[in-house]
Structure formats: C-alpha cells, structure tokens
Amino acid sequence: MQNVSKEYNGNPVLKDVNFTLKQGEVLGLVGENGAGKSTLMNILFGMDVIHQTGGYGGKVLIDGKEVKFASPLDALKAGIGMVHQEFSLLPGFTAAENILLNREPENKSVLSLVFGSRANTLDRKELQKKAIEAITKLGVSLDPDMLVSEMPVGHKQFTEISREISKSSIRLLVLDEPTAVLSEKEAEMLLKAIKNLSAQGISVIFITHRLQEILDVCDKVIVMRDGRIITELDAEKTSIPEMARLMVGREVNAGHAQTKSEERPLSENIVLSIKNLWVDMPGETVKNVNLDVHQGEFLGIGGLAGQGKIGIPNGIMGLYPAGGHVMLNGSEIALNNPRACLDASLAFVSEDRRGVGLLLDESLEWNIAFPAMQIQNKFLKQYLGGLIKWRDQAAIKDITDKYINQLQIKCTSSKQRAKELSGGNQQKICLAKAFALQPKLLFVSEPTRGIDIGAKALVLKALREYNRQNGVTIVMISSELEELRQCCDRIAIVTDGAISGILPASTPSEDFGILMVGKTHKEAE
C-alpha cells in the first residue's frame, strides 16, 4: 500500500500510510483504538463505508499492479479474505455449510438449463470433502457436521477462518482481533494455525491488542498512531514495552500488581452474599456460585473465557435467567428483576457497551443522567407535589461535564452523540453513568475489553480511585489477570461455572493460573 490516505467528513483519519507484505509473511498490526487500523483494512477490503464517504487517496498494489476494489467481493476475487471481530455465521447451518456458503459445489441437472444455474442441486458429498480439506489446512479439530448454534466460541472462530481459507485463490488473510473472544487454549491453537497458514504461503495481517501474540507469531510489526504508521519493527527484535510505548506515544506505566504491603484489611461486614447462584447466559453459564463480598473491598473475578465469570453480574442484575439466593446487606434481592437490583443500589457496567451500556443515538448528557433520572428521580425538578416532573437540564449538564473532566472523556461537547465516540471513551461514559447512580456496590464487567492501552490505564485508575476514595464496593470481572492484580484486593477465579478459589491479589500469577485450569490449591501442591 502506498501513500494511502482517507478522510471522514473532512477529518483525516489516515495519512500517508505505506507498507509492503511478502508472500507467507505474518504482519502484526497494532495501535490504539482510533489509530486507523480498521479504516486501513476497510480500504484494503473495498468495504462500502469507504465509497460512501468519498473513497480514499493513494494506491493499493498487489503483485505490483494497482487494484481498486469496488466491493468486498472484488477483494475476495483477488484473494483477500477477512475475518471480522463479529462472527458472520449462520446458526442453523453446519460448519461445512458455513465454510462453503455461496460457494457450494453443485450438480448440474436438466432443469438448470431451463431455470439457470441456481436450479442446480448441491453436491453434499463434495461439500463435506472440501470443508474437511479447509479444516485440515488450518490444522484444527472441528466437526464439519456440527451446527454453528451448538458450537463453543473457539470453534465458531475456526469455522470463520476455514471459510476464508477454503477459497482457492486465498493469498492474504486479515484477522481482526481473532483472539479477543477466545480462551487461552483456543488462542494458542489459533496462533499455531496462523503459523501453519504462513508456512503454506498465505500472508496474514494480524490485528490484536494482545502484544504477546504478536511476538509469538508475527514476522514484522507495524505500529499505528493517529492515522500514521509510526514504525515498522522486526518482531524478533522488539518487546512488549517497546511496542506499547510506540503505540501510545508515551511511556506507559504498565502498572504493577499489588504487593503485600499495599494490602488493606478486609472489613468484617459482608455486603453481598451469593448462594447457589445459577445463570443461563449462553456461552457463559454459571452453575453454582457461592461468594461473599466484603464492605468496601475491590473484588476481582477472573477465569478463562466461557467459564461463567461474565454470567455472574449479568445473572444478579437480572439480564439473564438466574436462580439461587443473593443477599445485599442481609436482605434478599429478587432475581430476574433488573429494577429490584437497581433500587437496591446495585449498579452494573456491562461488557456489552454498545448493546446494553449505551443509548447510542443519544447525547452524552442523556446517557449519563438517564438511569439516575429513571431510577432515583435525580436531575428532576418537581412541580405540583411531584405530579409534574421536568428534567433539570442544568444539573444534567453539570454532572456530565464533571465526569467528562474527571475521566478525561474525549468529545466535542456533552451534547455529542454516544456512538460517535471511540470504544475507550464509550467505556468511560458507561462508568460515568454507573457513578452517577451513586451505587453501594458496583459490578464492572470487562471494562477494558476492546479498548487500547492508554484508555485502559485511565479506566482502571478511575475505578480504583472510586473504590478507594468513595468507599464503594466494586466487583470487577475481567479476562486479564494482570489487570485484576493491579486494582483488586482479592481475586476470585471462576472455573466451570463455580468459584474455584479466592486469593489475595498479591499472590503470584502462577497460583491463579492453577486455579483457572480447575485445580484447587491443595491438589496442585
């Protein structure tokens, strides 16, 4: 790609981007959110967004020839495959059917002479064969006859990738954060698969926030910042701190885990007591959780993906069907009733920012003030003894501005619409929204998922301060253990839908690792 540039509504988001990629090479692409990685890939892939917003500048060359893709289909023809962050699979089709979707082998029949080629019947045997071929090429274990709706996340990801590599002309595969949803073991398998592909001469562009993975599989790394390529590094000679520094353009204080001396005494008071909780959340099933949360502590809940850690807050807050007993300060909270939880001064920052967390089309003011207004009658002026309630616009603006300052939310004004913000800033809005409720206990689920290192540090700092200064009990769920070790007092590890152990944050990581694979502390010894 040469001198590629792109503007959205007059805002340049890509400036003068140049890079080359050889056959069979694995290129790591890293950068903060909003650095322009997605835009760059969209250009490469000929996505509609690009054309609708006025095309791009510069050239894309493949084998020395300039190409201009009018649609993703053209890019596919040229041998470029892309696996997006969100799965695009049909739940009612098997893996094989999904892999060869719209490229099914066909039997010609007499009727197709009359009705055209779409009247050809499918050749099921051949379909099966080709699907198995692609799966073997990838080098993973995947049942071609399994329905996608019944698959674990990892297998869905493999199905997606198999679909791309089943295309005969495939030469370049773009993977956009493929490991974000995978457990460590699945991610490992995927990385191995990437190496397989590169050995077979397929080039890979690998976008990820997990820098370790870059070191593991990539040949070279491109670091992007503010729409520019900052530098190109040899993966073998670089290190995580170096990449991180380049990404954010400043020394990142990676933060350190709590040490023993920082430990705070645990309060005697139990705020929240969970007994025999089960939650039916697809992919994150909770089977039997017993947990006590103490007054004022910062409790972390960790564990591998799919083990049920995310299901715990979602179940308690009534977003998914749940059962069992949850006591807050000694009084039972009704499950399956979000309102009851909110009334009891619990608040929840969902891992699903865009779906559950935000009113995307509304202003930041609305987003922050809405729940408090709805649930606690805040920011309302009451007339006629409460019969008529008017929004207190000034108070709403004040509180929004306060949080914009406090959390360093990058926005044009408090009137901007939530969907126009980047992922990290959206996450901050979600936090502000929960803070505005002034909860007694705050659940935070995956607060750093999909946001860049800089924003991550700010979000974690805000949470930590909120806990330390306001004395609010926080339960934070995160897949990243190091993150938990930075801010939490204690960390509970969830395995197979139950708590496998709770340790102080100063415990070495290995001990948590042992819990994650499902052994209790004693067994390991």
């Binding site: 993703p72 289909l73 596919l76 695009s88 699979l89 049909l90 739940p91 009612g92 089709f93 059917e97 979707l101 719209n102 490229r103 099914e104 066909e106 009727l111 080629s117 779409r118 009247a119 050809n120 019947t121 499918l122 025999n276 089960w278 939650v279 039916d280 697809p282 099933t285 089977k287 039997n288 069907p321 749940a322 059962g323 069992g324």
Partner: protein, 369 residues
C-alpha cells in the same frame, strides 16, 4: 417421569393441531355424517386447496414468514379465468390458457410485492397483508371499471348488463372439474381425481427438489441471517424477490385448480378469502412463522376443512341453525392465525428459558448429592 415430560412438551409444541383434533372429535358425532361422505369431502378439499397452501412454503423458507401476499397470485389466477370464460375456451386447454395469462401477471405482482417487502425487512407479514388490501383495490378498479371499456371483454356471461364491469359471480361451466374428471377412478365409492393428485404430487416433488438446489440453500441462508448471506455474496434482495415471485405464481396456479374444482368464481371475494383460509390451514397443520413442511400442509388441510364440514351441520343439529357453523369458521380462522403468531413468540422465549431450567435442576441434584 421422563415420558410425562416429553408428552407435555409434545402437547405444547403442537397445541394448535391438538385443539383442532379435539374439536373435530367433539363435532363428529353431533354432525352425524357417514364415513364415506366425510372421506369424499376431505379428498375434494385436499384437491382444491393443497396447491394453494403449498405455495406458502417457499417464503417461509426464505425467512419472510407467512405470505399474505399470496392473494396477489389468486387475483392473477382469477383474471386468467375471467378471460377464458369470456373467450369461451373450454376444458383443460382453457385452464392452460388461463395459466399462460395468469403467469406474467403473477410474476409482475410478485416482483412488486417482493420489492416492497425488501423495503420493510423484518415486518414482511404485516406489509404483505397491507399490500394485498391495496392491490385488492387495484384489482377491483380493473375488474369493475376496466373490463369492458379499456380491456375488450364483451361476453354477456361475464360482463354486467350495464356494459362494463365483471359480474359478482361467474359460472365457470367451461372448466368446472375439468382436471378432476379428466381421469377419475372410484375406490370404495369415493371418486379419486388422479390427474389432480399427480399435479399436487409433482408440486410436492418440486418443493423437495427446490430445497436441495442452490437457490433453495441461498434462501435458507437468507432466512437465517441476511447480513451474513450478503457478505458471502448471495444476492439477498434478489433471492427474497424470487421467493415471493415463485410463491405468487404457484398461488395463481393453485387458484386455477381451486376455481375449476369449485365451478364458480366469486369475483370480488374469492381471493381475499382464500389467502386467509390457506394460511390458517397451514398453521392448523402445526407450521409456524419460521418453519413449515409438506406434512404440515396436508395435516392442516385435513383438520381445518374437516372442521369446516362438521361445524355447520353440528351447529344445525345443536341450535337448529347452520349459520352458527358458518360464523364459527371465519372466527376460528382469524383465531388460529392470531394464536399461531402469539405462540411463535412464546415458543421462542420458552426455548431460551429451557436451558435455564436444566441448570436449576442440575443444581438441585447437586445439592442432594
């Protein structure tokens, strides 16, 4: 314990057919018809309606729900029939000519309807229902004022005495039962119209074959997730339009078979009635908005029409009025459609709750152990 659970599941999943079976069993002795009479009646109804009901299957496969727009196909069929009656073409050649006239009209109407439905994705059923009302107006305009002065039809049999507009009812003496009697055999004193059966069987085979074609696979894909299908390069809009066009054309042919069996055309009512009755029959057979099979079609027709035959007589014998049964059947068809639509939602929700139940049970067992 486990068996009970299954029986309950089965009952909940098939509540509509079960209600109908119970209704029929209750009405059967009250009506007091002979078995032979009932059998011959049922066979007539199957011959009359199955082609129409089968035409609904393809849009369901494409995820577009119940095609209330099949009324458009029925209109096309009726226009074909009006022409051949006016031109006095008789028998099977007459029906073939009617089919030739109806096909392009049905394709055009289906294409129009498909276009509209593409603009209203996710709300196909209510939209197609409204389109059928709207097109009904256009149809009436054409038939009531267009035929005669604009479209040259001058047969006294068809046109009102005032010189333009089609009569309220047309006697289809020319094509009455021409397909049914073309090749008829008698078994146990019941007339079996072999050619009609062949035609219906052929359509069933076509539908089974269609499911296995590329287009069929594309439709299933589009039915599950339009965005994913689009990304894979399937032409989503075109596929959806095709589903509606095919359904509309089959509905037109079905209407021809239906009318030739009935022997009279109710110019201003037949099509709107037939749309509703066909959909109700399919739902009675246990189909849902997202899933329907050939089995549902035939079971539905048998049950729904058995009730049609039984209730007027049962009403007469009970209350001394046949009207009550007549009233009953209209009210029941609307009721069935409503029930099926609501049940579909409830079922989807319950399926979600199902896995929660297993979890709760697991824990109970765990607590005991």
């Amino acid at each position: 314990m486990k068996k009970d659970f299954n029986a309950k599941e089965f009952a909940i999943n098939n509540i509509v057919p079960i209600i109908f079976i119970v209704l029929c069993i209750v009405c059967l002795p009250i009506a007091g018809y002979s078995g032979q009479y009932l059998l011959s009646q049922i066979i007539t109804r199957i011959m009359r309606n199955s082609f129409l009901v089968l035409s609904l299957l393809i849009p369901i496969m494409a995820g577009m729900g119940l095609n209330f727009g099949m009324t458009l196909g029925a209109m096309a069929g009726q226009i074909g029939i009006i022409f051949i009656t006016a031109w006095n073409v008789v028998g099977i050649p007459g029906l073939l000519l009617a089919a030739i006239i109806a096909t392009p009209i049905a394709v055009l109407l289906g294409w129009f309807c498909g276009k509209m439905l593409n603009m209203a994705k996710g709300r196909e059923m209510i939209t197609s229902y409204m389109i059928s009302f709207f097109m009904n107006g256009v149809y009436q305009l054409v038939v009531l004022y267009g035929m005669g002065p604009v479209i040259p039809i001058h047969s006294d049999q068809v046109i009102l005495p005032r010189g333009y507009g089609v009569r309220n009812t047309i006697d289809l003496i020319n094509v009455r039962q021409s397909v049914d009697t073309f090749w008829q055999i008698q078994i146990f004193g019941v007339n079996i119209p072999v050619l009609t059966i062949i035609l219906i069987a052929l359509l069933c085979i076509v539908i089974v074959w269609f499911r296995r074609t590329k287009l069929g696979q594309d439709m299933r894909a589009v039915g599950q997730d339009m965005e994913v299908a689009r990304e894979a390069g399937i032409k989503v809009e075109r596929t959806r339009i095709l589903a509606i066009v095919i359904s509309t054309v089959f509905a037109a042919y079905g209407m021809l078979l239906y009318l030739s069996n009935m022997g009279t055309l109710n110019t201003y009512n037949s099509h709107s009635q037939i749309g509703m009755f066909s959909i109700a029959a399919l739902l009675v057979g246990g189909a849902s908005v997202s899933k329907a099979s050939i089995k549902n079609v035939f079971l539905g027709i048998v049950l729904f029409h058995l009730m049609f035959i039984l209730t007027p007589q049962a009403g007469k014998n009970l209350m001394g009025q046949a009207q009550i049964g007549e009233y009953f059947r209209v009210f029941v068809s609307y009721g069935v459609i409503t029930l099926a639509l609501v049940l579909y939602e409830i079922r989807t929700r319950r399926e979600k709750a199902e896995s929660a139940k297993t979890l709760a049970n697991l824990q109970k067992e765990g607590a005991k152990a």
